[in-house]
Symmetry: C2
Subunit: 66 residues, 2 copies
Amino acid sequence: MKNRIKELRAKNDLTQDQLAEQLEVSRQTIISLERERYNPSIILAFKLAKIFNCQIEDIFIYEGEK
Amino acid sequence: MKNRIKELRAKNDLTQDQLAEQLEVSRQTIISLERERYNPSIILAFKLAKIFNCQIEDIFIYEGEK
DNA sequence: ATTCGATGTAAAGCGAACTTGACTTTTAAA
DNA sequence: TTTAAAAGTCAAGTTCGCTTTACATCGAAT
């Protein structure tokens, strides 16, 4: 699953640390998500959408890859 | 996290078994989701949205509950 | 009253999501 | 050219999404 987290985080002028804090997750989680090492829980996806003020579908691109 | 899976499944005339098969998950997973015993992975959420032909946000209602 | 499809419960197990901590590399500014 | 913030790696541990199996309940036919 591809995502635009790094791009959106930059657009919102946030460091990984700041985003992690807002999401109440560890910085490792942000790093791993940006590197697409794993897929987030739906709760994290909702939190991200809220922070970036958009839809989950605007952040994550599902291509039926599994 | 609340969801409308049971409702949407009924509207689409599907049994838990049939939905599980389409999603490639076990029937237990459907039961547990409908009973809101846990939250799905983002991948399952995308698959559900595809089957029900709607947005993830139309199926799952996030109220910041965590 | 019996049967059967659909729904439900319980419990053990596995792998993925996420944490924590310690350390390294990159980048940019002083 | 040192320094420091930001980004990254590695590894071990915990929690939770999901599976599997086996059994129970309910409703609606027959």
